[in-house]
C-alpha cells in the first residue's frame, strides 16, 4: 500500500475551504493534446495549488508504460488513449474519467492500390501499429465488411514507422491516427480514406484518465481532487482551445500546429455532461462497446462489466466538491 494523503502540508491558498495539501504523482503523454493539454492549463491556471495538490508530473510517451509505472507504484494517475483501454478493462488500472472521443483514426490507402472501401482490404498488406486505436479502426472496418484480421496481411510497425513505410511505398494501406495520418495526407495527397471513426457511430474511441487500483482505494481523496482539476480544465479547454494548444506546445516543445490538429479530431464533452453520462450509464455503454472491439482484435478474451473498472463515484464527488 502507498502512504496515504495524511501529510501535514501547509494550508492551501483556496480561501473558502482550507484543505490539507495532498500529494499525487501524475503521469501524462506529453505529445498528446489530451495529456499535456490537461496538465499545461492546470499549471498555468494554478489549479494544483487551488485544489491543494502537491503534484509530481511525469511525462511519458505512451499509455502502456504508465500502466507499468502504476503497477510498480511509481504514479497514481495517468492518461491513456482509447487504444489502451483494454488495460484497465483487464483489471490493470481503474478508469476515473473519460477523456476525448477520438475522431482521428483512419484506414488510408494509396490511390492506385484499388482499395476504396473496407471490403477491398481482403488480402492487402496493411501497416498497423500494435495495441492502439489504429488496430481498432482496422478491426471495425474489417468487421463492417464481414472480414477478420486474418483476411489481411498485418504489417506491424511503430506508429511513426507506418508513415515511413507508407510514404516510402512499402505498404499500400495504413491504419493510423492523427496527427500521423495528416503527415501521410500531406506527403501522398491522393490517398483515399477507406474508413474513419464517423463511419462507426456506435463505437466511440474513448481516451481516459486512469488511476492505479491502489490509489483508488488508498489515495481516494487525492484522486478525487485531481478530478476537480480535470473537470475545470476540461471545460476550460472546450472554450479556449487555442490557448490550451499554445500552453501545451510551450510546455512540451511539441509543434503547436500538430497539437491543434489533434485538438480538432478530439471531441471533448463538458464536465456536466460527463457527469450525466456517468449517471445514466452512457459512459458504461461506451466502454462496453469499446471492449467488444478489443475482443475482436484479440486484446481481451471477453467483455468485462464496465462497472468493475470504471469508477464514476470519484468524478461525482469531485463535481459535488466544486459546486
Amino acid at each position: 500500500g502507498c502512504s496515504s494523503s495524511g501529510s501535514t502540508g501547509t494550508d492551501s491558498d483556496a480561501s473558502e475551504a482550507p484543505r490539507e495539501t495532498v500529494s499525487l504523482n501524475v503521469g501524462y503523454i506529453d505529445t498528446s493534446i489530451n495529456g499535456v493539454g490537461v496538465i499545461a492549463p492546470a499549471n498555468e491556471l494554478g489549479l494544483w495549488e487551488k485544489y491543494g495538490i502537491d503534484v509530481t508530473l511525469i511525462p511519458f510517451t505512451n499509455g502502456p508504460t504508465q500502466i507499468q509505472a502504476m503497477q510498480a507504484g511509481q504514479i497514481d494517475v495517468g492518461y491513456i488513449g482509447g487504444g489502451a483501454i483494454w488495460m484497465p478493462a483487464s483489471g490493470q488500472a481503474t478508469v476515473i474519467a473519460p477523456s476525448e472521443e477520438s475522431q482521428g483514426d483512419v484506414v488510408l490507402a494509396r490511390a492506385g492500390s484499388g482499395v476504396e472501401e473496407p471490403a477491398d482490404l481482403k488480402g492487402q498488406k496493411v501497416g498497423v501499429p500494435e495495441g492502439g486505436s489504429g488496430e481498432m479502426i482496422l478491426a471495425l472496418a474489417l468487421l463492417s465488411a464481414g472480414l477478420t484480421m486474418d483476411d489481411v496481411e498485418k504489417v506491424v510497425l511503430d506508429p511513426p514507422s507506418i508513415v515511413s513505410a507508407y510514404v516510402g511505398d512499402q505498404i499500400d494501406v495504413a491504419a493510423i491516427f492523427s496527427p500521423l495520418s495528416a503527415q501521410i495526407m500531406d506527403s501522398v495527397p491522393d490517398t483515399v480514406t477507406v474508413a474513419q471513426n464517423t463511419d462507426f457511430p456506435d463505437t466511440s474511441f474513448l481516451g481516459a484518465w486512469v488511476a492505479s487500483n491502489e490509489a483508488v482505494t488508498d489515495k481516494a481523496d487525492a484522486v478525487e481532487r485531481f478530478l476537480e482539476v480535470y473537470a475545470e480544465v476540461n471545460d476550460y479547454r472546450i472554450e479556449n482551445t487555442d490557448q490550451v494548444v499554445e500552453w501545451s506546445s510551450t510546455a512540451s516543445g511539441a509543434p503547436a500546429d500538430q497539437l491543434a490538429q489533434q485538438a480538432e479530431v478530439s471531441k471533448w464533452t463538458p464536465s456536466d455532461e460527463i457527469l450525466a453520462n456517468n449517471e445514466d450509464g452512457t459512459t458504461f455503454d461506451q466502454f462496453e462497446s469499446l471492449e467488444e472491439v478489443f475482443v475482436e482484435t484479440g486484446r481481451m478474451d471477453a467483455v468485462n462489466d464496465p462497472s468493475t473498472f470504471v469508477n464514476v463515484d470519484l468524478f461525482a464527488q469531485a463535481m459535488a466538491a466544486r459546486s
Binding site: Q71, A72, E130, V156, L157, S161, A165, G168, Q170, I171
Partner: protein
C-alpha cells in the same frame, strides 16, 4: 599467491596453451581441474534463480514473474510451436547480420589501422555512428531499405559492425612492430603482411570485437524487429510488453541470453583453437 597458480593451471588447460605450472603434481588431470568450474556454474545458476524468485515474491507485484510462471509460459510457447518459430526467425537474422558485420569490420578495421586515407575517410563516420542509437535510425532505414528482411538485417549488421570495427582497428595498431619488420625483410608486401602477420597477431583483439559484436547483434534484435517483423523473439517480446505479459518477456530474455551464451561459447572455442600459440596466463 596460490590463487594465481591455480588460475594459471586452469587457464593453461582450457586455453590449450601450456603456461608455467601446467603440470602441477597435485592436480588430477583434466577432469579434476574442470570440475570445480562446472560446480561454480551450477552454484551461480541456482543462486541467480533464487535471488530472482525471492525478488519476485518480495516485490509482490504482478509484473515481476516468478520462475514457475516463466516455466509455464515456456511450455506454452513450445507446445504451440510459436517459440521455436520466433527463435528461428531471430537466429537467422542475428547470424546473417552478425557474420556480415564482422566480415566487413575486419577488413575495415585493417584498412583504418593501416592506411592514412582509410582512417581519414572512415574513422569519423565509424565513431559518429557508433554512438547513434539503432532505435533512432529505424525511420531512416525504412525509407531507404524498406520493411523487408534486408532492413532488419541491416540494423543488426550495423550494430555488429560498429561494435567490432574498433577492436580490430585497435588490434592492428597494437601489432608488434618487430613482427611486421620480420615479415617485410622476408619480402612480404602489404597484402601478405595483412593476412599473415597482422590478422594472427591481432586475433586476441579481433575476438574481443567479434564477441562484443555478437552481444550487440542480439541486443539489437528487438530494435530490428520493430520493423514489421511477423516473427522473431524481439517481436514476441514487443507484443508481450504490449500485453504486459512479463513471463513471456522473461522467456524471450532467457532464450536470447541462452542463444547468445551458446554462440559466445562457440566463438570462444574457435578463439582458443586459433590463439593457442599465445604465451599468456
Amino acid at each position: 599467491m596460490t590463487d594465481i597458480k591455480a588460475q594459471m593451471e586452469a587457464v593453461s588447460i582450457s586455453d590449450g596453451s601450456r603456461a608455467p605450472g601446467a603440470a602441477r603434481p597435485k592436480s588430477q588431470g583434466k577432469r579434476g581441474r574442470d570440475k570445480p568450474l562446472t560446480w561454480l556454474y551450477v552454484t551461480t545458476l541456482v543462486l541467480g534463480i533464487a535471488i530472482w524468485w525471492l525478488g519476485a515474491l518480495l516485490g509482490n507485484n504482478v509484473l515481476a514473474p516468478t520462475p514457475p510462471q516463466v516455466v509455464e509460459s515456456f511450455i506454452e510457447g513450445f507446445s504451440d510451436g510459436s517459440l521455436l518459430m520466433n527463435t528461428w526467425a531471430s537466429v537467422q537474422r542475428v547470424l546473417i547480420g552478425f557474420v556480415l558485420g564482422v566480415a566487413v569490420a575486419i577488413p575495415a578495421g585493417f584498412l583504418m589501422g593501416w592506411y592514412r586515407w582509410a582512417r581519414g575517410l572512415l574513422e569519423p563516420w565509424v565513431q559518429f555512428f557508433r554512438t547513434v542509437p539503432p532505435l533512432a535510425l529505424i525511420p531512416l532505414v525504412i525509407v531507404f531499405l524498406g520493411i523487408g528482411e534486408p532492413a532488419k538485417i541491416f540494423v543488426i549488421f550495423l550494430a555488429a559492425f560498429l561494435s567490432s570495427v574498433l577492436a580490430t582497428f585497435q588490434g592492428v595498431r597494437n601489432v608488434d612492430v618487430t613482427l611486421i619488420n620480420a615479415a617485410r625483410v622476408l619480402g612480404a608486401g602489404d597484402g601478405t603482411i595483412f593476412v599473415k602477420v597482422v590478422i594472427p597477431a591481432s586475433l586476441p583483439f579481433i575476438f574481443v570485437g567479434t564477441r562484443v559484436a555478437l552481444g550487440a547483434a542480439w541486443a539489437t534484435v528487438v530494435a530490428s524487429e520493430l520493423i514489421a517483423a511477423a516473427f522473431g523473439l524481439g517481436r514476441m517480446m514487443q507484443s508481450a510488453s504490449q500485453f504486459l505479459d512479463t513471463p513471456r518477456i522473461v522467456v524471450g530474455i532467457i532464450m536470447i541470453g541462452l542463444l547468445g551464451f551458446v554462440m559466445d561459447r562457440l566463438l570462444l572455442l574457435l578463439e582458443r583453437k586459433l590463439t593457442g600459440w599465445q604465451e599468456t596466463r
